[in-house]
Symmetry: C2
Subunit: 241 residues, 2 copies
């Protein structure tokens, strides 16, 4: 717990300043390589003191969005958000191809559990049916871009967790089970603040926003094969339909 | 500006408590009619004092998400989020049909302006081309659910603004120009905090999250006819693909 004076309705002024600058960059008002207005001008624009502006710039610098250059000022870096295409044929790795030099998927943990009502409904199972639950983290060029929890019918994929840890790709694991094609049945998109665990795992500043997608994939016979709850840092990812 | 002691990383504890409870409701851990844990239990769960928990509950009560009942405790109300379907054929009013008893679209203002680079690119125009810009607000059952800014080629729709004020429906205005069918070419979805104006117009608590969609619609000859930037309060709306 720290004490802050610049709080209005639960979001500190430094965070709102950082958001506004990020928005200027995403919206094209500021392009990569542009010099940011001086601290004095930013302080005036946001009715803030320079200490507050400096804190906002420090957070943006930490995220790689801006960089200070000795004696020259603060410049916009090319930290563009990645675009993840959502459609009938949604593939995470394919969708991000060409947008990142490296894309690593980590399998954090897995367990067998009984489906809650929500998971059972999504997968067309009876509540309490056995499901495999895997926890994963995806990292693009060193920046975590997705934290996902996936449930699958245990009956169809008893050792899904072991295979995903080895193959790193959901598509590859499905193929190993003889499923050569699968399709996105539905995607529900919402947004919320990251919780403490997500903030830590995704390397975010506390209070960062997540885009949340709840997706059901089905096989060629329209049988649900996975239900995934994915959290994407809004400052790093956008979804394109 | 107020002073808050419960700030961690720019988001006050009361706001994070409210987010967590909202998440429990959306995620199905708490259903409509369920009694919330007592203030003492919530205070323990979030390592907060009871004053902070009370503030979180007051905000949720104001939003209609929970309600306190004299001598009985605090209960979950059925303030479910509306689902807005996004697809090839995306229609705002049609998509929300059955989810709200009343849906009012207000035309706030309009003007003719020269397209910025981003607007021109979205509409396939030359930068600086004349565009109609309209500002709108949509309200479902008394709750604002969308604040949108729409740009259209002036050449095609010189008096779009006047017609939308009268007809209230984009589909109806397009029909009045002889466009009987149109389709969604692309939708880009991101999320950020609401700014001061959006907070006020949408009737949100400061620091609320918006889902932002940038959408281009095209006519049957694939000519771009509108570019809309819509902001939906994440606590009231979700997008379904």
């Amino acid at each position: 717990m720290t004490v802050s004076k610049d709080v209005s309705g639960g979001v500190a002024l430094w965070r709102r300043i950082a958001d506004a600058i990020r928005l200027d960059i995403v919206g094209g008002k500021l392009a990569s390589g542009d010099r940011l207005p001086t601290e004095a001008l930013l302080a005036e624009r946001f009715s803030a003191n320079r200490h507050t502006v400096r804190r906002a710039l420090a957070v943006l610098a930490e995220e790689g969005v801006v960089g200070a250059e000795q004696g020259r000022g603060t410049f916009v870096r090319s930290a563009r958000r990645l675009s993840y295409p959502i459609g009938r044929r949604t593939r995470f790795r394919e969708g991000l191809r060409g947008q990142a030099a490296s894309l690593v998927s980590q399998s954090l943990s897995h367990r067998i559990e009984n489906a809650t009502a929500a998971v059972a409904a999504a997968l067309g199972l009876k509540p309490g049916a056995k499901v495999v639950r895997t926890e994963g983290l995806s990292i693009a060029d060193g920046r975590p871009i997705s934290r996902s929890t996936t449930w699958l019918p245990y009956r169809l994929f008893p050792d899904f967790a072991e295979r995903i840890a080895q193959l790193q790709s959901t598509t590859a694991v499905f193929a190993s089970y003889g499923i050569d094609d699968y399709a996105r049945a539905s995607t529900r998109i919402s947004a919320r603040h990251a919780d403490v665990e997500e903030t830590k795992l995704l390397g975010l500043a506390p209070g960062a926003i997540l885009l949340v997608s709840e997706a059901v994939d089905v096989d060629s016979a329209a049988i649900p094969i996975s239900y995934a709850l994915s959290r994407f840092p809004a400052e790093r990812m956008e979804l394109v339909v």
